[in-house]
């Protein structure tokens, strides 16, 4: 009897064969087993289920996003180390540390992990941790949807890492251009892993975009008009608009490619009339807004940090808002600059190039506004402010090379070279990573009740900054020497010293991350000494008015807002303790396991699609639909805390 239909195209030959991938395939499950053993020994399964896996509390969800992102950062930097070790040794007379096939999988997964699981993960971590608190509310508009978004993100993460154990990953780069990613040139499961991990995580992102947009519109504290919101909240608002418009285009691109691969259609194939250029347009119409999605919250964070640590009002609030909206608008009409060299003609190229350059104007304005917030301030260089200084230098350099490449005729000479690779790492590390790392240090005390150790924090910033320069400035030079991207070997010996310096840079970045891991471990150990009040930095915005760690209901009494930086001015006027009569009943959403189960079912569904196990596809699809219907029929998703209990908890927390 033919039982092949039961397991699709699963086959033992898909197990890894190379030392490094075999090591990962053994190491990852072993680590999971060790964690499970520890959980069992310390009897923490119940705690994990009740407090984390079934939670709908945005703060907890944010911490989970952040934890996954940081672990994925370590994997991503390890990928980078592998890449740079190979290139340092890949010159003439050198050796091939990894097979080309593995190398191509590594740089593909490096890009995917860094963008989708580190950057997006940290971004959603910060949205969840900071936005509800900053607008004076208890949770997001749709807490259940929030949980679903996280578990879909988690499912995507398992897919990327699971591919290491079984099947291998795509070799087509993080955006997977056809026809390379079509069946004709990539028949194996790697590209399918890539498609579905992005697709599932992407749906989670889209739902979060809607969630936070509605939250900001509908959940602001009374009196908080749009022009009294913290600038970080503005940056989130603008980002969610970008997410809602851009992500459906990613969904469409990936869906059409998967139809080509699963059902033999001809959207982007070479035969049958397909048009790979259509894919490139669609995916970059998403891809460009995506990088602004990542960087704008970082801009918002630095607005908060510079004002707070300069103990001064942010310069030009209105202009900052206008700049954010302008950047948002322009980020939709520049996508073609990612393929000036595809031959669209001078008029089209010039139009998109000019639109791209225009974005530099509002971005520059923001930088000036930050500088003049520092002007006549009283600046303390705690680590968030150190990160800002690193950002200001690094991101500016990246911006310069960006405007250079926006000139189509220049781009013709640097496109797809290491010059390009240096540019985008320049802006992403300088802008996104430095911003999000600063934010973690800034808001960590609010979540956990103690500060992170400053010494380790500053050391980390130093290693990251030096590491970045060592790792990427040589790449600008290499690009101008003719070195293209994604090479694992080359024949010009003059390139070797540059690649070696770059490899040293990655080691420095690794040292920076080691400092951060040590920082967390040490701070947890010394948390009694590092214990803080609700307002460790002398903050300006509402979140610093609640105790640290923030109670699960955020605000015992919803605050009233009269101006920007409400908390700062309340402190100046004298904070009044609340009257007993002000406490009211609070309605909170109940925990639920459905978020987790839907996420895990989506994971199984993806696996079934990748391995062509059709009966499982149908089963899991019906299961997801059924669970959604069941959830909508659930009338009892909330519970009430009586006012007296709220008052008791609040008084204890403030004691």
């Amino acid at each position: 009897m033919d039982w092949q239909w039961l397991i699709g195209r699963l086959d033992l030959s898909y197990l890894p064969h190379e030392p490094v991938t075999m090591g990962a395939a053994i190491g990852m499950p072993l680590t999971l087993v060790a964690i499970a053993a520890a959980l069992t020994y310390f009897k923490k399964w119940g705690y994990l289920w009740r407090e984390w896996i079934t939670t709908v509390d945005a703060k907890r969800i944010g911490i989970m996003y952040g934890s996954v992102a940081i672990i994925m950062l370590m994997r991503g930097v390890f990928d980078a180390l592998m890449i740079r070790s190979q290139t340092a040794l890949g010159g003439p007379g050198g050796s091939q540390l990894f097979s080309t096939d593995t190398y191509q999988q590594v740089f593909t997964s490096h890009g995917v992990i860094m963008i989708f699981f580190v950057a997006m993960g940290l971004m959603f971590a910060l949205f969840n941790i900071a936005v509800p608190l900053m607008i004076g509310t208890r949770d997001v508009a749709f807490p259940f949807l929030n949980a679903v978004s996280f578990w879909l993100f988690f499912a995507g993460m398992i897919l990327v890492n699971g591919s290491l154990i079984f099947g291998g990953f795509s070799i087509g780069g993080w955006l997977g251009y056809p026809p390379l990613t079509e069946l004709q040139y990539s028949p194996g499961p790697g590209v399918d892993y890539w498609i579905w991990s992005l697709q599932i995580a992407g749906i989670g992102s889209l739902l979060s975009g809607i969630n936070f947009f509605v939250t900001i519109l509908k959940h602001r504290a009374p009196g908080m008009t749009f022009m009294r919101m913290p600038i970080f909240v503005w940056s989130v608002l603008v980002t969610t608009v970008l997410i809602m418009i851009a992500f459906p285009m990613l969904t469409a691109s990936l869906a059409l490619l998967s139809l080509d691969r699963l059902m033999g259609m001809h959207f982007f194939t070479s035969m049958g009339g397909g048009n790979p250029m259509m894919y490139i347009n669609l995916i970059w119409a998403w891809g460009h807004p995506e990088v602004y999605i990542l960087v704008m919250p970082a801009f918002g964070i630095f607005s908060e940090i510079v004002a707070t640590f300069s103990r001064k009002r942010l310069f030009g609030y209105k202009t900052m808002v206008i700049a954010l909206v302008a950047i948002m608008f322009f980020s939709f009409i520049v996508w073609q600059h990612h393929f000036f060299t595809m031959g669209a003609g001078a008029d089209v190229n010039a139009f998109f190039g000019i639109m791209t350059m225009i974005i530099a104007i509002p971005t520059g304005v923001k930088l000036f506004n930050w500088l003049f917030t520092m002007y006549r301030g009283r600046i303390t260089f705690a680590s968030p402010m150190v990160w800002f200084m690193c950002f200001a230098v690094t991101f500016t350099i990246g911006g310069v090379t960006g405007v250079l490449m926006a000139v189509p005729a220049i781009d013709f000479q640097v496109h797809n070279t290491l010059f390009l690779v240096a540019h985008f790492h320049n802006v992403i590390i300088g802008g996104v990573v430095f911003g999000y790392l600063a934010a973690i240090t800034y808001w960590f005390p609010k979540m956990f009740g103690f500060r992170l150790h400053e010494g380790f924090g500053k050391a980390a910033a130093y290693f990251w900054q030096v590491g970045f320069l060592l790792a990427f400035m040589p790449l600008y030079a290499l690009g101008l020497m003719g070195a293209v991207r994604r090479l694992d070997n080359y024949s010009d010996p003059a390139w070797i010293p540059f690649f070696i310096v770059s490899a040293v840079g990655v080691v420095f970045v690794g040292a920076g991350i080691a400092c951060q891991v040590l920082q967390i471990a040490y701070s947890v150990w010394k948390r009694k000494e590092l214990h803080v009040t609700g307002d460790p930095w002398g903050g300006r915005t509402l979140e610093w008015s609640v105790p640290s760690p923030a109670p699960f209901y955020n605000y015992a009494i919803i605050p009233k807002v009269n101006r920007v930086d409400e908390w700062w001015y309340q402190k100046e006027e004298g904070v009044k303790a609340p009257k007993d009569s002000e406490y009211k009943d609070i309605v909170m959403p109940k925990n639920t396991s459905f978020g987790f189960i839907i996420g895990m079912t989506a994971f199984v569904l993806s696996g079934a699609l990748i391995w062509h196990i059709w009966w499982l596809v149908i089963l899991t699809f019906i299961a997801v639909v059924a669970m959604i219907i069941m959830r909508t029929m659930d009338d009892f998703t909330e519970y009430t805390i009586p006012a007296a209990e709220v008052m008791k908890m609040d008084k204890e927390a403030r004691a």
Partner: protein, 300 residues
């Protein structure tokens, strides 16, 4: 102190590294690349007008307004608006972008890969086919073909028409100028010229599979005499480039430089037609001209 030492160390390292290096893009051998280099320097220089003052202000403000210094300077926590300053830092960037924008527009046209190069010399036509993982060069008017070696006469415009039978690739000779994508079923165009004799490396800039890194070729800019003698020896080569040989070399794998006698002038069109068929309806499946430039193709 640590920061200052680090900066000095990095600058020294940068100098040592770049001292002996050769930068194809910055030491161009052709008119197109020369124009692109000037453009790069101009754009970079104009941006420094803003960037350098910004860096100075950053260090200055960080130092002057640090908390330890507050007895010597003014602390004005509410000061957050200044119309004149804002006018300056909106105005100057707008002016700079205006200049750069006009430059970008003009050079997008003058340095358009499709634009023919002004020269007294008659252009040499080369048809390029990106294969897995090698480059096929066909000289249709000269009766020769070659793989991975691209001899050209110096001071003569070379007019490339480029296609592929491979995942999306890109043709690039940094010393001579612009790159452009090579795509199945499409025909792109590029015009370059070498100003001096020499050997200039060429690369594929778009990942197209396992042999991607080995997909290198060399441009040999020769005097007219040397170029003619290469043509002559290729015509006498025992290697024949016809449809059969094309099938053979289209199989995935790398190759070393080889010259051929060209037996079939229509090979390039056959490669393009192989994939272009699918984009046509049954009404226009016959009779296509040999010059297919991008304006005929469905574009964005």
């Amino acid at each position: 102190m640590l920061v200052a030492c680090t900066i000095v160390a990095l600058v020294i390292l940068g100098y040592l590294l770049t001292r002996g290096a050769h930068f194809d893009v910055l030491q161009p051998a052709g008119q197109v690349a020369k124009s692109q280099k000037s453009l790069l320097i101009f754009a970079f220089g104009i941006m420094m007008l803003v960037v350098i003052p910004v860096f100075i202000m950053l260090i200055l403000f960080a130092w002057k307004y640090r908390a330890g210094n507050d007895k010597k300077v003014d602390y004005r926590p509410e000061w957050s608006e200044h119309k004149l300053l804002e006018a300056v830092w909106w105005g100057i960037p707008i002016l700079i972008i205006l200049v750069l924008g006009i430059t970008a527009w003009v050079t997008a046209h003058t340095l358009d890969p499709y634009r023919k190069i002004d020269s007294k010399a008659a252009p040499v036509n080369v048809q390029v086919v990106a294969l897995e993982w090698k480059w096929l060069f066909i000289y249709p008017d000269l009766g020769v073909a070659s793989v991975n070696e691209l001899p050209v006469p110096v001071n003569t415009p070379i007019h490339f028409t480029i296609s592929a039978d491979a995942p999306m690739s890109a043709f690039w000779v940094p010393a001579l100028g612009s790159q452009i994508y090579a795509m199945n079923g499409m025909s792109s165009q590029l015009n370059l010229i070498a100003d001096r004799t020499g050997t200039f490396p060429g690369y594929n800039t778009n990942i197209n599979g396992e042999g991607y890194a080995k997909m290198k070729f060399n441009v040999y800019a020769k005097s007219d005499k040397d170029f003619s003698s290469w043509i002559a020896s290729a015509r006498k080569s025992p290697n024949m480039m016809d449809e059969q040989m094309l099938q053979k070399i289209s199989k995935p794998g790398t190759m070393s430089e080889t010259a051929y006698m060209l037996m079939d002038n229509g090979l390039y069109d056959k490669v393009v037609m192989k994939y272009m068929k699918g984009t046509m309806s049954d009404k226009d499946s016959t009779g296509t001209s040999t010059q297919h430039d991008m304006s005929n193709m469905e574009g964005m």
